[in-house]
Amino acid sequence: MTFWLIQVLNGVSFGMLLFLLAAGLSLIFGLMRIINLAHGSFYLLGAYIAITVAAHFGGFWAAMVIAPLVVAAFSVPLKLLLLDRVQHNELGQVLMTFGFLLMISDASLWIWGGAPLSLDKPALLAGSLALPGAVFPIYRVAVMVIGAIAALLLWYFVERTRLGAIVRAGVDDHEMVQGIGINLPRVMWLVFALGAMLAGLAGVLASPILGVYPGADFAVLMLAFAVVVIGGLGSLKGAFLASLFVGLVDNFGKALFPEFAMFTIFVPMAAVLAVRPTGLFGKA
C-alpha cells in the first residue's frame, strides 16, 4: 500500500515540474507558432542563476523569486531583437531557437563550469515525512503545492483576465485577432517572457532534486516536448493533464519495469500521436 502511495506522490511531484516546463512551451507554440527549442536553456539558466543567487544573496527563497524573473527579463531581448527578425519564417524561427540553445549551453559551461551543481533545499523543507512504512521528502510535497498554485494562477490568468482572453483568441485565430485591432505582437513577447519565467521556475525547483549540469537543457527539452505532444500544443489543460500522466506513467514504469525506463515516456507519446496527432487537447 505504501509502495503505491509513494509512487503516486513521486509521480505527481515530477509531473508538476513537467507542467511548469510544458505550460510555457505549449503557450509559446500555441500563440506564436514558434517551436521554442531554447526552452531547455531557460530551465538551465533558471537553475544556474538560482544557485548563484542563493550562494551570494541568501538562500533558496530569494533564488526562487529572483531567478525566474531574471530568466524572463533575459528572454525579452531574445524575442524582440532576434526572433522578431524572422517573424513569418517558421523554419527560421526554429533554427534560431536552436542556435540560442547551443549558445546558452556553451556560455553556461563557460560561466558556471562543467561540474554538476545543486541547490540546497531551504531548512524549512529539508526533512522527510514519516508515512506508515516509508519516508517521503517534504521538499517534493512543496514542489507539488507550488506547481498546483502556479497552475491555478495560470488558469486564472488565461480564463479570467482580458489579457488571457486575448491570448486564447490569438491561439485560436491569429489573423482575426489582429483584424479586430488588437496589438498582438505586444502580447506575444509578454507570453514569451511568461513561458521563460515558468521554465526558469521549473529549473529552480528541480535543482535541489535533479541538480543542474551541462546537458540538462537537452534532457528536459525532450521531456517537455513529450508532454506537450501528448497534451496538445496550445492547450494549458492538455499540458496539465499530460504532465500528470507522464509523471505517473514514467514513475510507475521505472518502479515496476526498470529495464524499460527509457520507453515509459516515449511510448505514450507515440501512442497518442498515432491515435490523435494533434495531441489529446491540441488546437494546432
Binding site: 562543467g114 554538476p116 517521503f136 521538499y139 532534486i209 546537458g215
Partner: protein, 409 residues
C-alpha cells in the same frame, strides 16, 4: 570590393597554410582528445590540466626537444573522435595520442591506432576490453579498468564487514555493468548472494521510483556505481527516501570521487567506496601534486587529473628512452611498457596488457569541518585488473556486460 575580396582570398589562404605548416621540425607533438562540451566537459578539463601541469613541470621540453600539446574536442562522439585522431596523426604529425574519456570514442579509435602503431595513452576511459580482449601492444591505460577497483571491494565487503546479501544498482550500459560486476563477482565467489539487480537508464532524473521499490529487509548492503550528476542525485535521494540509516550504501569510487563529493552533502557520510586515488593520500608525491595543482588551477585535483598527470609521466619516459627520436614508435612503446615509478596514487607499473598495477584504497566518506573527505580505511597493494584470478583464468570468464542480469541465482 567584392571582386577584390575574391581575388585576395586565395593568396591569403595559401600564405596561411604555408605558415601553419610543420612549425619547427624539432617540436614533439602530443595529441590530446577530450570532450569539450556536455556532461563530460569537466572531466576533459581535468585531463587537460593534468597533462599540461606535468609537462610544464618538465619545462615543456623532453630529451632536448620542445613538447607541444595539441588539444582536440571529440564532443563525446565516436566518429568525431576518430576524425580528430586521423587529423592529429596524419596532418599534425603527433607522436602520441592521449586523453580519451568516453569509452565509445576509445573503441572507435582502437583499430585505427593499433594499425598506426603510434602509442595511445588512455587516461580516463575504463572500458575493460581495451586492456583485455581488445588490447593492442601500443594502447596503454593509466586510469584503471572498469572492474579493477571493484574486485577488491566485493572481497572486502564479505570478509571485513560480514555482509552476505547485496542489491546491485547501476546505469544500464557498459560502465555500470563492469564497475558493479567486479564486486558482484568477487562477493559471490566469497559466498555472498546478489538478491536483486536494478539498471536505471543513464542520466535518470529521478531515482525515487527505483529506490522506493526495493525491499530493504532482503539485503545487507546496496552496491552501486554512478558518476557525475547521477552520483550526486542518487546519494542525495538515498538519504531523502529514508534508506540512509536503514541499509548501508557502498560503491565504485566514481560514486563519491572528489568531483562530486562536496555537492553530495551530509547524505554521503559513511558511504564506502574503492578507488585508486583520493586527494588525501599521505605520500610525498601526492602532497606535492595536490599543492601544485591547487596553486595552478585554484581547485582541488580529482582522480582524472592524477591519471592524466601519470599519463604525462609515462609519455615522457617513452620519449626519454628513445632520446627524443619519437619517430621510433616501437622503441617508445617498448620503453613505456617497462615504467615503474612512484605516482601520487602509489607505486605505478603496467601489466602485460598495459593496464596499471597499483594500490587500491577502500575509502569512507566523512565530514571534516564544513567539507567532506574520503578517508582511507583499508588498502590493497599491487592490484592488477585480473586480481584475484590472474590473466588467463579471468579472460576465460564471461564479460561483465554479458553478466549483468545473471548475478541472481
Amino acid at each position: 570590393m567584392k571582386r577584390f575580396l575574391e581575388l585576395i582570398t586565395i593568396p591569403v589562404f595559401a600564405l596561411l597554410t604555408l605558415l601553419a605548416g610543420p612549425a619547427g621540425a624539432q617540436t614533439i607533438k602530443i595529441g590530446v582528445i577530450i570532450p569539450g562540451s556536455g556532461p563530460f566537459a569537466i572531466i576533459g578539463e581535468e585531463v587537460k590540466n593534468g597533462l599540461e601541469m606535468y609537462f610544464a613541470e618538465q619545462g615543456n621540453a623532453v630529451a632536448g626537444r620542445k613538447v607541444e600539446l595539441i588539444i582536440e574536442d571529440d564532443g563525446n562522439k565516436p566518429e568525431v573522435g576518430l576524425a580528430k585522431a586521423k587529423k592529429l596523426i596524419e596532418r599534425d604529425g603527433v607522436s602520441v595520442i592521449t586523453g580519451i574519456v568516453s569509452s565509445s570514442v576509445a573503441y572507435a579509435l582502437r583499430d585505427y591506432i593499433a594499425a598506426a602503431k603510434i602509442p595511445m595513452v588512455i587516461t580516463v576511459s575504463g572500458a575493460d576490453g581495451l586492456t583485455q580482449q581488445d588490447a593492442a601492444p601500443n594502447i596503454f591505460r593509466t586510469s584503471a579498468s572498469g572492474s579493477q577497483q571493484s574486485h577488491v571491494l566485493g572481497e572486502w565487503l564479505y570478509k571485513k564487514k560480514g555482509y552476505r546479501r547485496m542489491i546491485v544498482i547501476a546505469p544500464n550500459y557498459a560502465m555500470g555493468y563492469e564497475q558493479t560486476g567486479g564486486f558482484a563477482r568477487t562477493f559471490k565467489e566469497q559466498g555472498g548472494k546478489i538478491v536483486k539487480t536494478v539498471y536505471p537508464p543513464l542520466g535518470a532524473p529521478d531515482y525515487g521510483p527505483f529506490l522506493t521499490s526495493l525491499d530493504l529487509s532482503s539485503a545487507d548492503v546496496i552496491g552501486v556505481v554512478f558518476a557525475g550528476g547521477d552520483a550526486i542525485r542518487f546519494v542525495k535521494q538515498y538519504a531523502e527516501y529514508g534508506l540512509k540509516g536503514k541499509i548501508p550504501l557502498v560503491g565504485s569510487g566514481l560514486l563519491t570521487d572528489d568531483m562530486v563529493l562536496q555537492a553530495q552533502g551530509d547524505a554521503v557520510v559513511g558511504v564506502v567506496t574503492a578507488l585508486n586515488y583520493t586527494r588525501t593520500l599521505q605520500n610525498t608525491e601526492n602532497q606535492a601534486f595536490v599543492v601544485n595543482y591547487v596553486q595552478r588551477y585554484r581547485r582541488i585535483p580529482t582522480a582524472y587529473a592524477e591519471y592524466s598527470y601519470v599519463g604525462g609521466r609515462v609519455i615522457r619516459e617513452g620519449i626519454d628512452a628513445v632520446k627524443g627520436k619519437v619517430e621510433n614508435s616501437a622503441a617508445m612503446v617498448a620503453a613505456m611498457k617497462k615504467v615503474n615509478f612512484k605516482a601520487p596514487r602509489g607505486q605505478f607499473r603496467f601489466d602485460e596488457y598495459n593496464n596499471p598495477i597499483t594500490p587500491i584504497y577502500i575509502l569512507q566518506a566523512e565530514k571534516q569541518g564544513s567539507s567532506y573527505i574520503n578517508k582511507v580505511i583499508d588498502e590493497y597493494t599491487n592490484i592488477s585488473q585480473f586480481y584475484p584470478w590472474g590473466a588467463k583464468a579471468y579472460l576465460a570468464k564471461p564479460r561483465y556486460t554479458d553478466m549483468a542480469n545473471k548475478w541472481i541465482d
